[in-house]
Symmetry: C2
Subunit: 341 residues, 2 copies
């Protein structure tokens, strides 16, 4: 029997409702499985923490997260950047992995989309280095290093190899304008590509990519790109397959990882039992896969697969939350998923 310590950030807006759904599913696994158990430590972070404790990411929360083996996070509101960017940097979570997939009975621009954005997660403009050149002019530094480019490229090619799907990696950049910075990123991707002769490698300018994600999304397999482009393109890709309600993300480092929905706090539907829990449940699935890989534990990987299978099963029967044209509440959909696990 393996027991995993998971820290759970409740977040803001629909965050707490999603966190509740994730807890329910993890507890269901703990109950039903004899080999996999979870200890869940809930932590405060975000607007609510800021209001209550004066800090969006209180020390005590960081301590609890540090003691856990992985972190699952609900969306955070206005203070999102103060939570997620800090955590990504603190744990050196260098790969932001965002699958976008057509699911049954969900309106999608194509029913054959199965891609993943592998977004560099540590540099670009996310270092927050901004200066006033004069009173009325700001200069922000956009940083690109060979080291960060190489490890994200490696991650992307490994992902393409493991997915064993279309076996394609496309590096997305703007090296015609950012000649040195994205030039370095592109050259590094090209170099890493040589080590993976079985993976078909190509490049696209970010503007062309934003078109092609609409024109032929089913052509993509793995997209590797820099931080801010990855932010934009992964949101776009999520919408291509029917919306952020289904979009999970993994922030992966060498010794820790954090999982969260791609979307934000959605205050407009908060507290109404209307959120789609799929994005956090699919994030939990990614977490179980990561834990399993890391601990050589096939059982927990299987439990992750069961989460996705249950969601797909529900969707096939037309059981859906409102955001994707169904009638179920957050808790009803979660119940359904839990029951069929």
């Amino acid at each position: 029997m393996t027991r995993y310590n998971i820290s759970l950030i409740r977040g803001d807006g629909i965050g707490p409702e999603q966190a509740e759904a994730a807890k329910k599913i993890l507890e269901t696994i703990s109950d039903k499985s004899s080999s996999t158990k979870f200890t869940i430590s809930e932590v405060d972070a975000g607007d609510s923490a800021l209001a209550k404790q004066g800090k969006a990411l209180p020390e005590s929360s960081v301590d609890t997260i540090k003691k856990s083996q992985a972190c699952l996070k609900g969306p955070v509101g206005e203070s999102a950047a103060d939570v997620i960017i800090v955590l990504r940097r603190m744990f050196d979570l260098y790969a932001n992995v965002r699958p976008a997939k057509s699911y049954p009975n969900i309106p999608s621009l194509s029913d054959k989309v199965d891609l993943v954005t592998v977004r560099e997660n540590t540099e670009d403009v996310y270092l927050g280095w901004e200066f006033n050149a004069d009173e009325n002019t700001v200069v922000a530094l956009r940083v690109t290093s060979e080291r960060a480019s190489r490890r994200i490229a490696e991650y992307a090619f490994k992902t393409a190899t493991l997915r064993n799907s279309k076996r394609r990696v496309v590096a997305v950049h703007k090296a015609n304008v950012l000649r040195k910075g994205d030039g370095l990123f592109a050259a590094t991707c090209r170099e890493v590509a040589k080590k993976y002769p079985k993976i078909q490698y190509s490049e696209l300018y970010v503007d062309a990519c934003s078109m092609n994600l609409i024109r032929n999304p089913e052509e993509f397999d793995v997209i590797v790109t820099t931080n801010l482009f990855g932010d934009i393109l992964s949101d776009e890709a999520a919408q291509v397959v029917g919306g952020l309600g289904m979009g999970p993300a993994a922030n992966i480092g060498d010794s820790f990882a954090l999982f969260e929905p791609v979307h934000g706090a959605a205050f407009d539907i908060a507290g109404k039992n209307a959120a789609n829990p799929s994005s956090i449940l699919l994030s939990a699935k990614m977490m179980l896969e990561w834990l399993g890989d890391r601990h050589g534990d096939k059982d927990v990987i299987m439990e992750g697969k069961r989460i996705e299978d249950s969601i797909v099963g529900a969707l096939k029967k037309g059981s859906k939350t409102k955001d994707i044209g169904g009638r179920l509440s957050t808790t009803e959909f979660t119940e359904l998923v839990a029951k069929s696990m």
Copy 2:
């Protein structure tokens, strides 16, 4: 009778074929109209100029462009940045205006899209200021000034006022990460908004915008944004309404303007008489509008309107080029448009 001197950059790939189409239409106007005449000076720029003359933008071309009242430009190949970024800066063409509109009989995510991206066109990372922090690290400077933000915001609100359509401006930025830079941009837009109480003002993060362009494109009217975000979002918007074959752009300064398709050189279909000339013809339409506004000449504005009307007329009858599901060649479609003008 008013005679306008137009410089015409032929460009690369499908550029020369598109330039030919534009010439044909401008000549048709010269022939048919008693009040509007064009003198067209063709100039070399791009890959072909680089190969022939050793420079992507030869001095002689710049001289001719400087002597003209407006420039119409076909797409350029690999050396695109060396042509267009230089020209934008040389003439201080600070507003990049890119309409995206649903046209009849063209597959679009929605048949009610009518938006325009007003992209800041002079700063951001487009200054090309990149440095090696060390051998393996590049720092690019992303510049945001109050002056450039203000004049693009002013341009956007004026555009929303003149369009008299949904009367909305949305400022798109990433001020949660680029707190100072995009913070300045957003604050400036907010300030300008106060001068236009009849225009509804809102803001969106760039990642959310890239989603919403797919989810509810018909909600947008005027999008005002920084340079690189505008590059990405305007390509996306063009694809939302069925592809870049229809997408025109205007690069507008206080005393000069340059008009060009949004798309690139499309080498794969070059020389096959297969390109859609609409993007350059609609760019020509924007040029005639700009000339008319500037010279108080209603006739030339009317001729511009005729270009679009002829294109729409052809589309309504199902007469289309291959990129949008039709069977007509570049020259056949151009003939049709010319005939009905």
